[in-house]
């Protein structure tokens, strides 16, 4: 009888679900919205339908991310640090250092023997996160998803000295007004983020292979800037947004299999998918 596991990663902007059997059966990414619980249902439902499964087919569910405590139907909560490491290790087993650039925070994670051996987080300050990119994209009137390819056309990246998002925005608009090209400015912002992230990761011993994950990994310009700053090749997983959910699903699978081996009863949430929608 085949088993199915789900990992759900509730980030500040996006909620991601992975349904895992012997292999990945489905994945889905949807916006989080202000009420994690309500939207968590929808994203889960969508993923299940793509996998041709129903909620009761799931044998274990692990929630991770910023909103993990607000998922009533999750059987276990695990931090995104552990989940990203697990998921990344599945896709890129040679990686020892992970850089995760999310919407509201950035993290560095070390992996040893498939497990987390150290981590650092920057979640106090927008600089070095997706939010920083959003602010700048707005200021330059460039769609967020176009920043990467635009930066590759830069002739010479602008130098942005401010490490504070608000000050950096000023600097960018000033330089734009003084005739600097948008491409150069975007490249300059990527350099600034790479520098910031490098400073963060320096608290860990940076060992290859190094990978980037999270929303920031989808920005080719940022990845190149990070390569230049770290002076090494940077790997990117096939779908950077789902590494967390994948890790959660893998942990779910492992938890289930351990309980089978040990004979211990597996504690589940006991909550169905529907019930969540009645919560206020």
């Amino acid at each position: 009888m085949s088993r199915h596991f789900a990992g759900i990663d509730i980030g500040s902007t996006m909620t991601k679900v992975v349904i895992l059997g012997d292999k990945i059966e489905a994945s889905y990414i949807g916006p989080t919205g202000p009420e994690h619980r309500k939207l968590a249902n929808k994203v889960m439902e969508e993923a299940l339908s793509r996998a041709n499964l129903s909620f009761k087919d799931l044998d274990y569910i692990v929630a991770t991310g910023y909103g993990r405590i607000n998922v009533p139907f999750a059987d276990k909560q695990v931090t995104e640090i552990t989940c990203h490491a697990r998921g990344l290790h599945y896709f890129l087993p040679t990686v020892q250092t992970i850089i995760d650039i999310g919407g509201q925070d950035s993290k560095g994670i070390k992996i040893k023997n498939g497990k987390v051996s150290g981590f650092v987080m920057n979640d106090k300050c927008a600089a070095g996160t997706g939010r920083f990119m959003e602010v700048i994209a707005d200021a330059l009137a460039v769609p967020l998803e176009k920043l990467g390819e635009l930066s590759l056309t830069a002739t010479k990246p602008a130098f942005i000295s401010s490490t504070c998002t608000v000050f950096a925005e000023h600097e960018v608009t000033n330089q734009l007004a003084n005739g600097e090209s948008t491409a150069n400015l975007v490249a300059g912002i990527h350099d600034a983020i790479a520098a910031r992230v490098f400073g963060l990761l320096n608290k860990l011993k940076i060992e290859p292979d190094v990978a980037v994950t999270g929303g920031g990994a989808k920005n080719i310009g940022l990845v190149k800037a990070i390569e230049a700053r770290f002076k090494c090749k940077i790997l990117v997983p096939p779908e950077p947004l789902i590494t967390g959910a994948m890790g959660a699903a893998l942990i779910g699978k492992e938890t289930y299999e351990n309980s089978v081996k040990s004979g211990e009863t597996l504690l589940r949430s006991g909550k169905g998918l529907r019930e969540a929608t009645f919560f206020n």
Binding site: S161, S162, F167, H170, G199, N202, K203
Partner: protein, 447 residues
């Protein structure tokens, strides 16, 4: 890092003396690097800890981390050192003089003591000992040496404790002088014993006595020169003083320091005779009331000057007073003399403060300078990484306004070394607003 902006054109200095300071600073740093080859010992040390004469009398070359960090800051090459320190979990909110130098020490150690490439003005040499101090100045003066020892594990540390009585309006501090002076003296003796033990040489007490005499004279000529700035227009302002403070702060006890202030004195006398002021059109005279400056933004003094605002006087780095005013008891023991001078200087404004209800000694000093130098306003600078000099500024400003007058006050914010805290446009905007306040106050006929 190569892409960091180099310092802009340095501000035009008003005095030749100030312009010559670069040589002093470079020499100080270079001496710490060449010391080993010259058979001399290097002691990492920190300013205003009362240990200057002891070091000079024993031919010890001081390695002043504060000077090195200040230079890195002014040349805008501190970030890589701050990051290095941060990479080993030193918080960014700690004293940035310390974290900048620690980062440098860590890198130098990884290079086995070899010079750090591109370090400002050659960097500092590896120390043989570290002299710290627990005093009423700042905690980093004993935590920073201790943190350094984590990377330079073979370097012995001595921490002395130089206290003076805290201000209490209900207490006459003179009743406690005796045991405070005894304590300070005992600590200075302990410092000498430590150095004798670890450097294998004995103190030459006659030489020490002569060095102390010289440092007394240096304090005197330093103040004499500075008091010439009372002239209208003022021949020198704080922008220069942030340079001219170097000899009395880092070279106290040397002939060069004394000679420097003698030259400065003569230069200022000459300028006054020729009616030469700092600004073309001196409209407002300001006191720099407290705070270490942003070393990477000394150009802001030029900004003030261009608007007709000058600083004839500052509290920061005016680390001395005329010895005759301190009423020092006679003693043949040079260390006891240092202890008395230490204590009398730090408590010099206590009597005034006790006489005026609600006052504080620091505020009395501010009032004294406002009156002596005919100031129209006071500027404070609050540096975020330095609690020692900057916690209490709001209170000083409040007390000043309460007990003295509604004199215009500006409190600027930034840091000594960390440039990421600084925004030039904002700073200039604040200065502009303050100038307008000064103008209004002048029109209303307030002093």
């Amino acid at each position: 890092m190569s892409e960091e902006k180099k310092a802009k054109t340095p501000r035009a200095l008003a005095t030749k003396a100030a312009a010559s300071i670069g040589k002093f600073v470079k020499n100080n740093l270079a001496s710490s690097v060449t010391a080993r080859s010259e058979g001399k010992k290097v002691a990492y040390a920190y300013i205003a800890d009362g240990q200057d004469e002891i070091m000079r009398a024993m031919d010890i070359v001081p390695g002043w981390g504060e000077s090195f960090a200040g230079v890195c800051s002014a040349r805008r090459d501190a970030e890589r050192f701050l990051q290095k320190a941060e990479s080993d979990n030193f918080s960014r909110s700690l004293c940035t003089y310390a974290t900048c130098t620690l980062g440098f020490d860590m890198i130098r150690e990884e290079l086995n003591g070899e010079p750090v490439p591109g370090a400002s003005w050659g960097g500092m040499g590896r120390p043989d000992v570290i002299l710290g101090s627990g005093q009423l100045l700042c905690d980093p003066r004993f935590k920073w040496p201790q943190a350094t020892q984590h990377y330079l594990q073979d370097v012995p540390i001595f921490v002395s404790n130089m206290y003076y009585p805290p201000f209490d309006p209900k207490v006459d501090h003179k009743e406690q002088e005796k045991f405070y002076v005894k304590y300070a003296k005992d600590e200075l003796y302990a410092c000498v014993r430590f150095l004798e033990k670890h450097l294998g040489k004995k103190m030459d007490w006659d030489r020490l006595a002569a060095t102390v005499e010289l440092s007394d004279k240096t304090w005197d000529i330093f103040i004499d020169a500075y008091e010439l700035r009372k002239a209208v227009p003022t021949p020198m302002d704080t922008g220069d003083a942030m340079n001219t403070m170097v000899p009395v702060t880092f070279n106290l006890g040397t002939q060069e320091a004394y000679d420097f202030y003698k030259d400065l004195y003569n230069e200022l006398k000459q300028k006054i005779a020729e009616g030469k002021g700092v600004a073309q059109n001196e409209k407002y005279r300001l006191l720099w009331g407290a705070g270490l400056p942003s070393w990477f933004a000394l150009g802001d003094f030029q900004y003030f000057n261009d608007k007709g605002a000058v600083f004839p006087v500052e509290i920061t780095y005016r680390g001395g007073e005329k010895t005759e005013r301190l009423d020092l008891p006679k003693t043949n023991d040079p260390l006891e003399h240092i202890a008395w001078r230490w204590m009398r200087y730090w408590t010099h404004w206590y009597d005034k403060a006790r006489k005026r209800p609600g006052s504080l000694p620091k505020v009395e000093r501010i009032i004294e300078y406002i009156e002596d130098y005919k100031c129209d306003g006071v500027v404070f600078h609050s540096a975020f990484s330095c609690r020692s000099w900057h916690a209490g500024i709001i209170t000083q400003a409040n007390v000043l306004k309460k007990i003295y007058s509604d004199i215009p006050v500006l409190i600027m914010e930034g840091d000594i070394v960390d440039i990421s805290s600084y925004n030039e446009a904002d700073t200039h905007a604040r200065i502009d607003a303050f100038i307008e306040t000064l103008e209004t106050a002048k029109k209303k006929g307030r002093k």
